[in-house]
């Protein structure tokens, strides 16, 4: 296991060289070793899944902390939205018949958390178009009329938002 390959994998080098440092940095920042390990893990996973790996090589530690910070912010936001939604439902009470199961609610909450993060990265108009269509079920033409844009533009908004939704790691729930 100590053998070394000649053509080194840049990701392996990045991991070997800086993983311990990143965990330490996160632990100091968060004060929670488990969460620090999780975020560090997600940071590397994200780099692994993106094409930014080469870019990371120039300033590895700056790149790692930026990525980790972004993940932290996204995760906090995502969880805040999920929990606010669930709390809202509880406050609203269980007056509904055929209420969704906890699993269904959780899937809904996770999707909501995910889009909340994604929608922050697009214009407010695009975000509103997305919510009107997928949350409220409005048609393209109706949204176009409300916003004073073409249906073509509405489609463009929706695609934009979807792309940001895809650009995320799956939600992780730490204990």
């Amino acid at each position: 296991m100590s053998s070394v390959t000649r053509d080194s994998d840049p990701l392996v080098d990045l991991y070997a060289g800086h993983h311990g440092w990143l965990v330490g940095w996160l632990r100091r920042k968060l004060g929670c070793p488990d969460r620090a390990a999780d975020i560090a893990q997600d940071t590397f996973l994200r780099i692994l899944l993106s094409r930014d790996a080469l870019f990371a090589m120039r300033e590895p530690r700056a790149f790692l902390t930026t990525t980790a910070n972004r993940l932290l912010i996204d995760q906090t936001r995502r969880q805040a939205v999920e929990q606010a939604y669930l709390a809202e439902l509880m406050q609203a009470g269980e007056q509904q018949a055929g209420a969704p199961s906890p699993e269904e609610l959780l899937i809904a909450a996770q999707a909501l958390g995910q889009i909340a993060v994604a929608l922050e990265k697009v214009s407010t108009k695009a975000a509103e178009a997305f919510l009107l269509h997928y949350l409220d079920g409005l048609g393209h033409a109706e949204i176009a009329e409300r916003q004073g844009v073409s249906t073509r533009m509405v489609r463009k908004y929706l695609v934009q938002c979807l792309l940001h939704c895809a650009d995320l790691l799956p939600a992780r729930h730490g204990s």
């Binding site: 991991y15 999920e82 509880m90 609203a92 906890p102 909501l112 929608l119 997928y134 792309l163």
Partner: protein, 332 residues
């Protein structure tokens, strides 16, 4: 699950997003045409399907909100959490959150795939469990397994979504017992057997008695007897192989994996299913290596070490317990 995550090329996600939006246009005929074309596009390539699934998961979650008529709660949550700081009033909220979290302990802790969250029975990676079903049949699940049950007065159906199950069927002449997978159905004829979801196929190993296997609704059933194993899926037309059923039985109870002449990639997939870290390997680079072994699944580090011992051409880099990479060693 993180180790199942694959990089999906961006242009595919873009195409998937385009399709998804087009199937939501106002004109019903146009929307239907787009939906059909989208389905064909997804079927054309598993990477297309993977790209689409990422987006569809989100849309499905939002549909859930719509169907439960909780849009106003959703919008409120989006607005509320936008506040940069939590106000004093939010503290009351956080108490509710703890209650809310307490209601869903299992889902809160696990990082399971959303589709499997809905499964009737499931295990986390590295977790084994066994259950006696209503009819007296025994169902045992190894790590990373998800199963749906459909038991009616007429039939007993177990749907294997992922992972591996050992089935011990209680006889009932009036209610056939059927295991369904993505790639076929297995009808028990009073019996004990093992079903494993592997990459793009299903593997069935018979321990006792017989089953009938159908790989398509109109395909003739195949009879499989104790001591035989069959792998079936779209690109696998294999004939049954002999297995040592008592060895398989012992291995299952000892949480071991018995493989005979299996591709290394398949074996690593299975090890990954029992491991909480990230196991990375290049299937192509490892192609051609076949494994026959008995490996401990409750100690995956040792399993990897055993593989390394018997395959000097392998090269295992343990960067941390979270990230292990398997490749081919360089020739000296």
């Amino acid at each position: 699950m993180n180790d199942r995550l694959q990089a999906v090329p961006e242009d595919l996600v873009e195409q998937a997003a385009e399709w998804l939006v087009r199937q939501g246009v106002d004109d019903p005929a146009e929307a239907r045409a787009a939906a059909d074309a989208f389905a064909a596009w997804k079927a054309a390539d598993p990477r297309h399907a993977a790209a689409a699934a990422r987006l569809e998961n989100v849309i499905d979650g939002l549909r859930e909100i719509r169907q439960s008529s909780t849009q106003s709660s959703a919008r409120k949550a989006l607005r509320l959490s936008q506040r940069p700081r939590w106000s004093a009033g939010a503290r009351a909220l956080s108490i509710l959150l703890i209650i809310a979290a307490g209601l869903f302990p299992a889902v809160w802790i696990s990082g399971t795939q959303p589709t499997h969250l809905m499964a009737d029975l499931r295990t986390l990676r590295g977790e084994w469990t066994a259950r006696t079903l209503d009819d007296g049949s025994r169902l045992a699940l190894s790590g990373g397994t998800a199963v749906n049950l459909e038991f009616t007065p007429e039939k007993r159906i177990v749907r294997l979504l992922d992972g591996e199950i050992m089935v011990d069927v209680a006889p009932d002449a009036n209610r056939p017992f059927v295991v369904e997978t993505e790639y076929g159905t297995i009808r028990a004829l009073g019996t004990r057997f093992l079903v494993t979801a592997i990459d793009g196929a299903t593997r069935l190993s018979m321990l006792e008695s017989r089953v009938e296997v159908r790989t398509a609704p109109d395909a003739p059933p195949r009879l499989l007897r104790a001591g035989e194993s069959l792998t079936f899926g779209p690109n696998r037309e294999e004939s049954p192989e002999a297995v040592d059923s008592s060895l398989l039985d012992t291995a299952w109870n000892a949480r071991q994996m018995v493989v005979r002449d299996r591709p290394l990639g398949e074996v690593l997939d299975e090890i990954a299913r029992h491991r909480s870290g990230y196991l990375r390997y290049d299937r192509k680079a490892l192609a051609g290596i076949h494994v026959s072994a008995v490996l401990p699944l409750d100690d995956t580090d040792r399993a990897l070490q055993l593989l390394l011992n018997s395959f000097p051409e392998l090269h295992i880099r343990r960067i941390t317990p979270y990230l292990v990479m398997v490749g081919r060693a360089e020739k000296p």
